[in-house]
Every structure is written in C-alpha cells, then in structure tokens.
C-alpha cells in the first residue's frame, strides 16, 4: 500500500466519525436545554405548541435516534409506576376474589413480558423492578422517545381476529358521526357487533381515528395462537408483519377461513384495526401476513409486542415522572474531573517516557476515542457507567498496544538495526502479540455483548468496538505517522 492510499483511509475514517458524531455534538452543545426537554413530551402533549415548533421538535426527535444517550445512572430518566388491573382477570376466571397465587402468577408473567419487550426495544439500558406486592417500576433513560416507550410498555399486545359485519358497516354514513368521530346514535350497532376504527399517525405522530368498521363480536382467534412474528417487506418495499401460528392455531385458522370464504377478516391489535383482508380461499399452514398503512418502525414495534405475548392483565400508569441520575450530579462532576486528570496524566507520561514517539501514541489515543464516540453515536448507544468502564479499558489496551510496539522497536534498536528496519520489524513482531491479545479479549466481549442484560451489554459493546478501532489506530495509524515523520525529517535516531 502506498502512503497516499493509507492517508486516504485514515481521512475517510475521520470523516465517517465526524459524520457519526456531529448529531451528538449538536444535541448536547448547540440545542438549548429547553428544546431538549420538549422532546421528552409525547406527540399528544405537544399539541399546545405552534405548528412550526412542533415540526422542529419532530425533527429533533428523529435526530435523537443518532446520538449517544446518557443512561439512567448518568442523567436519570422516565420513571413509570405501573399497576395491573385485576378486574378483567376476575371476570375471566368468574370469581369475586383472586387467590394470592393467581395474582402472583399474573405479576410474574407481566414482569417477564415487560423484560422481553424492553430488552428488544433497543440498545438502551432500562431497569424494571417490583415495588411492594403489585407495583412495577420501569425506568427508561431520559432521552428515549416517550411515545415509543409508552407504546412498547403499555400496549397490551392483545391480537384478535373478527369477521366484518358487512351489513351494518355498509349502512354507516358520514353524518352519523360527530366532529371528533364518535358515533352519535349507538343503537345502529346490533348487540352482537362492535364498532372499531383504523388508526393512522398524522404529521405530528399523533394517532388519529380513520375509517370506522363494524365487526362481529365473537373473537375467532387471539394472540396466544402466535408462535413467531417478524417484519418483512413486500414486493413493493412496504413493511409487513408476518407471523406463524402454532399447530393448534393453524388448524383453527384453516377452519375459520374454510367456512368464511368471501368474507373479510379484521385483524385487531389492542382494539385498533390493523388490516382487513378478504378471505379468497381456505388458508392452510398457519402463515398470516398483515399489510397496511404503517411505517417500518411501527411494524417493528407491532412484531415486537406480538412476539413477547400479551399481558395477562391490562396495566395502568399509576405515576409517571422524571428522576435525576442515580449517581447524582455531584458524583458525575467528580467523575468527569477525575477522567480529565487521568487523561492529562497519560498524555504527559507517554510524552515523558517515549518523547516524540509518545506524541504519536497520544494522537492515536485521541483518534481512538473520537472514532469510538462516532461509532457509538451511530449505534444510538446509551452510555452508562459500565459503558464508561469499557472505554477506560479501551484506553488501557490502546496504551498497551503502543507500549508493546515501542518496547519492541527499542529492542530492535539495541540489536543495532537502522531506524527504518527497527520500525519495520518492531511493528511486525508486535502485531502478532497485539492481534492475539486483542482477539482473545474481543471473543470474550463479543459473547458478552450478545447477552441481553443491561449493564453487561453496555460494557461489552463499548469494549468490542473499542478493540476493533484500537487495532486500526494503534497499529495502522501510528505506523503511518512514524513513516511520514521519519521521511519528512530524515530521522537518523528515533526519539523513543
């Protein structure tokens, strides 16, 4: 590889990092605290603001999916207390009082489903704990989108199939509804039917009711029959949710479609109609596809909710507020101060011990941190204290890589080799050492990062990315700087 090409690679890497990190920079240093706080409101709560403001907040919300968030321990977050509503469970089991065991079992399942849903929600680090006997506290890192958070946490996940009541539906007229879309005279709907709506997000992400349809009351099949759910795109590139039914569910579905050919089947999630396909023929195999007017993100959230299963009981938000960081502002300030002192110490030490070569190592170290931040921002990573621990270890390993290289070069110089030869064989010998040391650690962290538990995952992701970047900055970049420096200043004796 010639030098120009190598310089180009380094510049491209820096360019990508600048591109990756710039939203984070804008977010924390250019936007006002007030605007940032506004993005923590839901679309419904923003209705009171002028249209222009709402649009700019919407843009900011979009941007937030490309920045580094600070986790609960560093900046606090949304704090929600959820309470199960046992009324429905009582009705279903037909008893007046639920036994202790029934309630405990319901709670356990709610917790399990919540964990499942939130774990798959993203790279954020939420915490879910019980409080007392039947309260659940969910804490979501502050900068997460409250709209999405609420959809995922609160959506019941109840999927039902109903047949369309074509007779009554065809009788519906626009003038039978008032301005807000409510039916004025409820008696037009027969007792054996119900009125449900299609829903669609408007330009400000507020859900609005669309077309009303009358459906028969009897649930033909529900979400418990679902085995798998995933998001795909159809031949036109539109997102669709597909799911496979269990053996039992598939049999039921076959029966339903067999006797109802020519009718329309409504697929309803949490009381909202998703899709209403016509049954053209009997459908064996238990593969169901929902297409409709929704975005990729919506489709993903739906699939996520369907996969995790439905809550056995509906949940209610008993309390919702924001909390400060669990570390406390004072601890964080102290930590930042300590980190700055540590960084200065390392830079000075490398300069003092390795002189000009130490300066090259310092540049590589700074570049390493910058590239790491760019990558984390691009991943919309939530930084927590374990994540910072991963960064500290990255710095440690980056310093280590350079120490290994420099000690090798020194050895080669002592063996009487020329400057260029020492650099070359020093790097070659050190490369194998660094590769093996980094690879073993990378294997360990990669396995850990596949493990969906908050603190461990945060640590493992930062360290894995850090190690990969380290191989680039500590070996490739420093070597390039050495070669450039030696050529430019016709170095006879290395400053190392």
């Amino acid at each position: 590889m010639n030098k120009a090409f190598r310089i180009l690679i380094v510049l491209i890497a820096i360019g990508i990092a600048v591109w990756g990190f710039s939203p984070t920079y804008n977010w924390y240093f250019r936007f006002s605290k007030e605007d940032r706080d506004l993005t923590n409101l839901t679309a419904e709560e923003l209705v009171v603001y002028p249209e222009e403001k709402r649009l700019s907040i919407k843009e900011m919300k979009k941007m937030r999916s490309r920045i580094i968030n600070l986790g609960l321990d560093l900046q606090g977050g949304i704090y929600m207390v959820l309470e199960p509503d046992y009324e429905e469970l009582k009705k279903r089991s037909g008893s007046v009082e639920l036994t202790q065991d029934e309630m405990k079992d319901a709670m356990r399942r709610v917790m399990e489903i919540l964990r499942n849903r939130i774990d798959k929600f993203g790279v954020s680090e939420p915490t879910i704990t019980t409080q007392g006997e039947n309260r659940i506290v969910v804490e979501l890192p502050g900068s997460k989108d409250p709209d999405r958070a609420k959809t995922v946490v609160m959506g019941r996940g109840l999927l039902e199939f109903f047949l369309v009541d074509e007779d009554t539906s065809s009788k519906l007229r626009r003038d039978m509804f008032d301005a807000s879309g409510n039916l004025i005279d409820g008696s037009v709907i027969p007792d054996s039917s119900q009125l449900l709506y299609f829903w669609k997000k408007n330009d400000f992400d507020v859900l609005e009711r669309q077309r009303a349809v009358v459906l028969e009351d009897e649930t033909l099949l529900d979400g418990s029959a679902i085995k798998r759910a995933q998001v795909q795109t159809d031949q036109f590139g539109k997102p669709e949710v597909t799911f496979s039914l269990s053996t039992e569910g598939a049999k039921q579905f076959l029966r339903i479609t067999e006797v109802n050919v020519g009718r329309r089947l409504a697929i309803v999630l949490d009381g909202k109609i998703l899709s209403m396909p016509l049954i053209r023929e009997r459908i064996p195999g238990g593969q169901v596809r929902i297409t409709g007017d929704f975005t990729m993100k919506d489709a993903q959230d739906q699939a996520l909710v369907l996969r995790a299963g439905a809550f056995p009981v509906p949940l209610q938000i008993a309390e919702e507020r924001t909390v400060g960081p669990s570390l406390g502002q004072d601890s964080i300030e102290a930590g930042v101060k300590a980190a700055i002192i540590a960084a200065i110490l390392i830079v000075l030490f490398m300069l003092a011990y390795y002189k000009l070569s130490g300066f090259i190592a310092d540049i590589a170290l700074a570049l390493n941190m910058f590239l790491l931040l760019g990558a984390l921002a691009w991943l919309n990573f939530t930084l927590t204290l374990p994540g910072i621990a991963g960064m500290i270890l990255t710095v440690g390993m980056a310093v280590d890589a350079n120490v290994i290289i420099f000690e090798r070069i020194k050895e080669e110089i002592r063996n009487g080799k020329t400057v260029n030869a020492s650099i070359q064989s020093g790097y070659e010998k050190a490369f194998r050492t660094i590769l093996d040391a980094n690879m073993t650690t990378l294997i360990a962290t990669f396995v850990l990062s596949q493990f969906g538990a908050g603190p461990i995952k945060g640590f493992a992701i930062t360290l894995s990315i850090g190690i990969v970047i380290n191989m680039f900055t500590s070996i490739f970049v420093t070597r390039l700087l050495f070669v450039l420096g030696v050529d430019a200043f016709r170095v006879k004796k290395l400053s190392i």
Partner: protein, 303 residues
C-alpha cells in the same frame, strides 16, 4: 533500564502458588462464613424511602452524606420537580429488621434537617434490578466465552497455554471477590463492571507474556531448558507489563482520589484487579505452563 532485568521468577513459583492459595482459601472461607457475598440492592432488592425536603437549597450530596452516615449505603436519586425538593433513598433489605432500617434513616434525616424539614412521602419494598434469571444467563454466557477463548488460544498457541490463561483469569476473579468480602463491600452493578474489566485486563496481560514464550520456544534448544526459556520470556516482556500497569494505575488512582464517593468502590475493585492481573500474568500463568511441561513434556513444535 528495565530491559537488562533478569529476575529469577519461575524457580520461585512455589511461593506465588502458596500466596495465591492462602488468599483464595481465606477469601472463600470468609465468603462461606458470611453466607455468600454481600449483595447490593441491584442484586437483592431492598427498601425505598421517598422524602420531600422543605429547604430547597439542600443538595443531593448532603442527603447522601446522611444516608452514608447511617451505614445503609449511598443510593440517592433526585426527582425532577421544579417546585419541590424530593429524593428517593434506596437501602438494602436485611430481612427481619426492615423497620429498624427505615426508622434509623428517618431519625438521621430529622436530626439533620429538623422535624418540620422532612416529609416522609412513601416507604416500600423494591425488587432487584438484576433478576435471578439474568444471573443464570450470565453463567451460560460465561461458559460459552471460556470455551471460545480456549478454542482460539489452542489454535494460535497450544491447548495448555489456553488452559493456563483461563486459570489465571479465574484466579484473578477469585482474588478480587475475596478482597471484596474482606473489605465488606457490596456486590452491585459497578462492582460487576469492575470484575468484567478485570477479566479483560488479565486476559490481555497473560496473552502478551505467552506470546513471548511462543516466540522463544522455536528451537529444540529452548525446549531443553524449558524453565529458563519461559523465565526469559517473562523478563523480556516485563518492561511492557510494568509500564502498562503503571499507566492503568495512574488512571484508576485519579478516579479513586477525585472520583467522589460513588466512584471509589469501583476504582478500588479495579486497582485490586490490575495489581492481581499483573501479578498473575507474571507469576502464575507461565508457572502453570512450566509445571504442565514437567508433568507431561510437550514435543518440540514450530509455531
């Protein structure tokens, strides 16, 4: 200055074995006597106490100091409320004496801020943040990670080197856990992060030393004097080992000194970990390889 060192490390490995064994056995006995490590709220759940302070000028640090004074930890969170000054204090459950814990904290808060200065809004029992299910998965993940590391090191080095590296790693984790129990510190997410960091550090350190042994073990002559070849390898990489440990310790000491009360435990675990990690890669890991060779000499093999 460091490159001319030629310490006799391998011949004295028995002392290192004894030292490590004493610490680990004492640590494990201590942990067993206390029926396991002390688990923090993150792992064990605990009590939560919500208080509103009349004086809006009071800062979170002061509230935390009161909690630290009672000896029930330092977990304080402020609720964002511009009108009022509300804090959530979390403490560990100690089974029967929950009421006493709440009572002690209430008294300490009243002593500090006055009877009319604090309103107790709510007390409750909270479950752990890190559930048992999560911990179980952690064991499985740990086993998979160890298996893969062993596979890689066998492929790049030799099986026995891989086993020795894993042994050194387990050794380090056990010693750090022993120290956590000696000093009566609680296991929380911070300490968990510290233990993970130590694993990464120790592995890195050991592999670097092994790499030198691999390089030096190229001739059949090197095999004849196996002990001294390994000893020479340790010495050759000693300058790097010491410089790296020194820089890492500089970072950790500044965290320990300037990082505030919450960061202290974290930095403490890491300092112990780095010292132990360095020690094990110099005195333990290679020593295991040497003794393995004595037990079953390995054949000359070009790598």
């Amino acid at each position: 200055m460091l490159h001319s060192l030629n310490l006799r490390i391998i011949p004295y490995r028995k002392f290192a074995y004894i030292l490590s064994a004493v610490i680990i056995v004492a640590g494990m006995v201590n942990i067993t006597l206390h029926r396991g490590l002390k688990m923090g709220i993150d792992f064990a759940g605990g009590n939560v106490l919500q208080v509103a302070l009349a004086d809006k000028e009071v800062e979170i640090g002061e509230v935390r100091d009161v909690l630290i004074g009672t000896g029930y930890g330092n977990n304080v969170q402020r609720i964002d409320d511009p009108q009022r000054n509300i804090y959530i204090l979390r403490t560990l459950t100690r089974e029967r004496d929950n009421d006493k814990i709440i009572e002690d904290i209430k008294r300490a808060l009243i002593d500090r801020f006055g009877t009319s200065g604090v309103i107790f809004e709510r007390t409750d029992v909270v479950g752990p943040k890190i559930s048992r299910y999560l911990m179980r998965t952690a064991y499985i993940v740990g086993t998979v990670a160890i298996a893969l590391i062993l596979l890689y090191t066998t492929f790049r080095f030799r099986f026995r080197f891989g086993v020795a590296a894993i042994a050194a790693l387990v050794h380090d984790v056990l010693i750090v856990l022993s120290f956590i129990s000696f000093f009566g510190k609680e296991m929380d997410t911070l300490i968990l992060a510290a233990v993970l960091t130590i694993i990464g550090y120790s592995l890195n350190d050991t592999i670097v030393v092994f790499d030198r042994s691999r390089e030096n073990l190229k001739s059949s002559k090197a095999y004849e004097d196996y002990d001294m070849t390994i000893n020479k390898s340790i010495n050759q990489s000693l300058s790097r080992t010491l410089i790296t440990s020194l820089t890492t310790l500089m970072v950790l000491l500044s965290l320990f000194i300037f990082g505030g009360s919450t960061m202290k435990n974290f930095a403490f675990a890491l300092i112990v970990g780095v010292l132990v990690g360095t020690y094990s890669s110099v005195f333990i890991a290679s020593a295991i390889v040497v003794d393995w060779h004595r037990w079953k000499p390995e054949k000359v093999k070009k790598v």
